[in-house]
């Protein structure tokens, strides 16, 4: 996969992930062009199209378009299911995901995508494995926060005792 884009019906880019080196200028140009092409398509049209030298696979979920650019020999249908699996992961993590979740927790969306796809290839297709990796990280964070809180409490206590 060359890149993945998430953008809204209104043409706002919500997430972009590039798997080959591309200059910022070129990225902006490609995003603009591709959004135009995809947004102009009608609902019943097929989910694949040829664009430049790439194949585009896209699907709309509610207000969001998920759009992948893959190479000529890549499998379109399985790419469509890559998108679906990613949506499922987001859904599971956020609990019925909506566009706002992705706007406000964009970093989480990137982390989930990273756990799922790496270098443009699927890393693990098991929903459990991917979510486990993410939750483990959250857990780590919570543990750390508890330890920190504890440390703060101890410090305060120590102060009290001194006084």
């Amino acid at each position: 996969m060359r890149f993945m884009l998430l953008f809204s019906r209104q043409g706002k880019l919500r997430l972009q992930k590039w798997y080959t080196a591309t200059s910022e200028r070129e990225k902006k140009k490609m995003v603009r062009e591709l959004m135009q092409v995809v947004l102009a398509r009608k609902p019943k049209m097929c989910s694949f199209l040829e664009w430049r030298d790439l194949k585009i696979v896209y699907k709309r979920y509610a207000s969001l378009y998920f759009c992948c650019a893959v190479e000529d020999q890549d499998n379109e249908l399985i790419t469509l299911e890559v998108i679906h699996r990613f949506v499922e992961l987001l859904d599971k993590y956020f609990g019925s995901v909506c566009e706002l979740d992705i706007i406000f927790n964009f970093e989480k969306a990137y982390f989930i995508l990273d756990e799922f796809l790496m270098g443009g290839e699927i890393q693990d297709t098991s929903k459990k494995s991917v979510l486990k990796a993410i939750e483990q990280a959250d857990l780590l964070q919570e543990v750390w926060e508890k330890i920190e809180n504890l440390a703060k409490i101890l410090e305060t206590l120590a102060l009290f005792i001194k006084q």
């Binding site: 040829e50 249908l77 790496m118």
Partner: protein, 972 residues
């Protein structure tokens, strides 16, 4: 603001995002962002050390701002600091920032690499994964240099956790794509292959991706993966839908892994081992059988996953192209999909059938679906599906159905979307030519094309119809009659005027017997269009008129009157004016004999590649090449096999490496006369020398005639670098610097890598050259879709003409193919043309670009002269710009004999006894270009003590002096 804030909420960030969302205008947003940037900057610069949380929050805000599309020029250091945090989310944000915003600031890279190294060594799997993700996300060469050595070790170490193995495999894959040279194959490869047997399906999935990519370039190294992949696949397809637990996706067992395994198998030919082969066939049959079973779920995910595997299996069947039974079954399955209610499946079925059509086993089976495909062309609502239908019709076309398919395509063209019209026009033109049994049909078809979609008929198409009409006597009368009739339409496309003008100018006499198309009527008809046409078309029509003067002496005065009118003789356009003047003069002065010779019918065109094919190839990208090349082979046999290039008056005496109609060869006769700039005086010159150079004149007239229409413009063959599809491949070889080794010699190996060797043999005479390029396949596997183009960039295009013929698209393992380049030097030049080679090797597109050693000195003719002559000329060239001198250090041992050989190899005559100092070398020669000749004198003074040389060159042109000096000084 949503309530979700798992793990860590960053309130400040959420507030900021809300603020941005509430901005009513772009200006307000920018204002808010600038405020935030100022705030963050002051925090980062402030005296108070920031705690990890704040640092994370601000870095995250910067990231958000960047992702909104604004530039960020600070914060990198803070992000790098986060890497050394012990807190997972801080580290994570640090890595995310770096992945998205890394720049090649070397200082920073070192720090980042340090952070990554620490995490890789931490043995904490979550940290290791973060580090691996970062390497893969950045994926730069620097990353590869730093880590490509370590990652294979992590990948195959016995104690590595599964999740880390997965990351390591894909990380290595990414680095290999960026810098394959930095990932050396080794002992680890066999252990990677064995990951296909791993218990953890996630590991197998990641490993399969890696192996597939590596195997494409190192097939031998990974050969053992074939049997492992087959047995893995077999276990998956025969498993019950619940066996694989979490790896079952909507009742389909491990669809991703299945697709990847099938993809891996496409890197190899069918397995040789009969047992493995049998097992694979069984798998493929099972997959085809499953397609017939009722679906286990109504969900689209179920059918997508199932059909993804099916399509990949069909791809493998097509790739092997060895089991007729499977191919026909695949075709039938796709036939069912052609009428499926899912648009996606119809699209994919059309696409997949395109490749099936090229297999001898399934071509006939594909043809049975012709009516459905034509139906799709008419009824599909989605243009991308219709386009696939056009592709498939093109692919399934053969002699038996050509008339029907061409008719349907022409039909469709009337209403086709503008975006695909040009492509359809090209396809129709190719099919009509390829399968023309009756050339009247061909002519009708092309004229129809021009009528229906004249704007989309590119020059290549109408050039081609003219070439064919000229080469085929049996169709000339019909063509003249048909264009004459077509021109009767009150509004006809300019392309039709061009074709009509050209054909009537050549063959108008064939229909002049009919009263309805008498010479005068023909002339009036054409001239009625004249004023509505563009300058190039008018120029072409003027040439037609002068041809009419020869064909129809009875209307000579009418034509002379037209030429004489002010609107011609005083036309503001210099080309038109010149033609009018010259043609008028020619018609007045020349005797009938001379006219007849000068304006003789065009000789048949030498057999040349259809430029339409090249054009389509360019439009469609390399994927289409094999099909096209096939077309080409057949065409050569059918159409041009019989049309040997005829020798015309001007070429008889001059043997030449070129077969170009433009008559490069004939330029030798008047090579001192710049043809384009002073064409008018050329004619006068010719006349003043009486009848001797008739042949020259004939070719000059031809030159004029064809230059107006550009029929044989070398540009047709040379891809325009601006529009050429650049197939970016991660390990694209950059164009190597022009090799110095070829400056003084003409033969040798130009390029070599693991796959390909390019050898050269060349010969040059005056301003012409011929180069034999040999492409050797060093592997045991075929190269497919092999193509090579010569690209002359920018200015070089007008200085150097290079003509090539495409080579066969398939290069067998171990085989060598040859390509001939005909080179003409038009004027002096500096840049070197680029040879661009593309081919598919094991499924990956390879792209090689090398500079061709066509250097100015190749067009030297040595000149012997006496000492006295030499110094006299030396003095004449005393203008400061004419001399270039360079003093440089010797790079090679200073051997007199070697130096002599090099100077002679450079192309000049080595003049002995000219220089009073016997250790100096003196040479003289003339650079031949089409437009001018440049005399050149040189002197090389070695100083053995200092190990230095002084090189002095004098020529009449400063650019030539400089270029030659640059070339020669690199040789010693």
């Amino acid at each position: 603001m949503p309530a979700v804030s798992k793990g860590d909420g960053m309130r400040g960030l959420a507030v900021f995002i809300s603020d941005i969302r509430n901005c009513k205008s772009k200006e307000a947003e920018i204002k808010r962002i600038n405020k935030e940037l100022a705030n963050i900057r002051s925090k980062f610069k402030g005296d108070k050390a920031l705690d990890g949380y704040s640092k994370k929050k601000y870095v995250c805000k910067l990231l958000f701002i960047f992702l909104l599309g604004h530039d960020i020029d600070f914060g990198h250091m803070e992000a790098v600091n986060l890497l050394s945090s012990n807190k997972y989310t801080e580290k994570q944000i640090g890595y995310l920032f770096i992945s998205v915003l890394v720049n090649s600031n070397s200082e920073l890279i070192r720090l980042i690499n340090n952070g990554i190294k620490n995490d890789l060594a931490s043995r904490n799997p979550t940290f290791m994964n973060l580090a691996l993700h970062c390497i893969a996300n950045v994926g730069s060469r620097e990353m590869a240099e730093a880590f490509a050595g370590d990652i294979p070790k992590i990948l195959v170490a016995g104690d590595t956790m599964d999740s880390v193995k997965q990351s390591a495999a894909l990380c290595l894959l990414r680095l290999y794509r960026t810098s394959p040279d930095l990932v050396p194959m080794g002992e680890w490869t066999s252990r990677v292959v064995h990951l296909l047997n791993d218990q953890h399906l996630g590991v197998v999935t990641a490993a399969t991706s890696l192996i597939t990519t590596l195997a494409q370039k190192n097939p031998e190294e990974f050969k053992t993966s074939v049997s492992l992949a087959v047995s893995r696949l077999s276990r998956i397809v025969t498993s019950a839908s619940t066996d694989l637990q979490d790896y079952t996706y909507y009742f389909v067992p491990a669809p991703w892994l299945s697709v990847k395994l099938l993809r891996l198998l496409q890197c190899y030919p069918p397995p040789e081992d009969a047992a493995v082969r049998g097992r694979l066939t069984e798998c493929l049959e099972t997959i085809l059988n499953k397609a017939q079973e009722p679906p286990k779920s109504k969900k689209v995910q179920h059918s997508n996953a199932k059909n993804a595997v099916l399509f990949e299996a069909i791809s493998l069947i097509i790739h092997h192209d060895s089991e007729p039974n499977l191919l026909v079954r695949a075709c039938n399955q796709l036939g069912q999909f052609l009428q499926h209610r899912e648009t996606n499946l119809r699209y994919l079925a059309l696409e997949s059938m395109c490749t099936l059509a090229s297999s001898e086993f399934s071509h006939e089976a594909v043809k049975t679906h012709i009516e459905t495909v034509i139906g799709a062309l008419k009824t599909e609502r989605d243009v991308s599906v219709r386009q696939r239908a056009v592709d498939l019709l093109y692919a399934m076309c053969d002699r038996s159905n050509a008339q029907q398919i061409v008719a349907e395509m022409l039909n469709y063209l009337e209403t086709a979307d503008y975006s695909i019209r040009e492509e359809i026009v090209l396809k129709v033109a190719i099919l009509a030519e390829k399968y023309a049994v009756d050339y009247t049909w061909y002519v009708d078809t092309i004229l129809n094309l021009i009528r229906i979609a004249g704007d989309y008929v590119s020059e290549e198409v109408w050039y081609r119809v003219i070439q064919i009409v000229i080469n085929r006597e049996d169709v000339q009368g019909y063509a003249a009659k048909t264009v004459f009739e077509a021109l009767q339409a009150p509004a006809c496309h300019e392309n039709l005027v061009k074709v009509g003008g050209y054909i009537l100018g050549e063959f108008g006499n064939l229909i002049a017997g009919d009263r309805r198309s008498s010479p005068l009527i023909q002339f009036n008809l054409l001239h009625s269009k004249f004023h509505l046409c563009s300058v190039p078309t008018r120029a072409l029509l003027l040439s037609t008129y002068i041809k009419f003067v020869n064909l129809f002496p009875e209307i000579k005065t009418t034509i002379q009157d037209v030429l004489r009118s002010d609107s011609q003789l005083r036309n503001a356009d210099v080309e038109l004016q010149q033609r009018a003047v010259e043609y008028l003069r020619l018609s007045c002065i020349a005797s009938t004999d001379i006219l007849a010779t000068v304006l003789e019918e065009m000789p048949p065109f030498p057999e040349r590649e259809s430029s339409i094919l090249a054009k389509l190839k360019k439009k469609k990208g390399p994927g289409m090449v094999s099909e096209i090349e096939e077309t080409k082979k057949e065409r050569n046999v059918e159409m041009n096999g019989s049309t040997e290039p005829a020798t015309n008056a001007s070429t008889v005496s001059t043997p030449s490496p070129s077969t170009d109609l433009l008559g490069i060869e004939s330029t030798a006769v008047f090579n001192s006369v710049p043809l384009n700039s002073t064409g008018g005086s050329l004619l006068v010159d010719v006349f003043s020398e009486n009848s001797a150079p008739v042949a020259t004149l004939a070719s000059a007239a031809e030159e004029n005639f064809s230059s107006s229409s550009d029929l044989t413009s070398p540009d047709n063959n040379i891809d325009d670098p601006a529009t050429a599809v650049h197939v970016s491949h991660d390990d694209d070889d950059d164009v190597d610097e022009l090799s110095d080794t070829f400056v003084c010699k003409n033969n040798g190996v130009l390029f070599e890598n693991q796959l390909l060797q390019i050898g050269l043999k060349s010969e040059f005479r005056q301003n012409l050259g011929r180069m034999y390029v040999f492409y050797g396949n060093k592997t045991s596997t075929q190269f497919l879709s092999f193509s090579s183009n010569v690209i002359c960039q920018d200015g070089l295009k007008s200085q150097l003409n290079i003509q090539t013929k495409p080579v066969d698209p398939t290069v067998e393992g171990g085989a060598q193919v040859q390509q001939i380049l005909n080179i003409e030097c038009v004027s002096d030049f500096t840049e070197a043309p680029v040879l661009n080679i593309q081919f598919r090797y094991g499924g990956t597109l390879q792209n090689v670009s090398v500079k061709l050693p066509v250097t100015l000195n190749k067009f030297f003719q040595p000149t012997e002269m006496t000492s006295q002559d030499f110094f006299q000329r030396w003095k004449q060239l005393s203008n400061p710009q004419q001399e270039v001198q360079k003093i440089f250090k010797a790079k090679h041992p200073m051997d007199t004999e070697v130096t002599k050989a090099k100077i002679i190899g450079f192309g000049v005559a080595l003049l002995d006894g000219v220089d009073p100092n016997p250790s100096n070398f003196v040479g003289a020669g003339v650079i031949h270009t089409k437009t001018i000749q440049v005399g050149c004198l040189l002197r090389l003074e070695p100083n053995t003590q200092a190990q230095m040389y002084r090189l002095t060159l004098r020529t009449s042109r400063d650019t030539v002096s400089q270029r030659l000096c640059g070339l020669l000084s690199e040789q010693f």
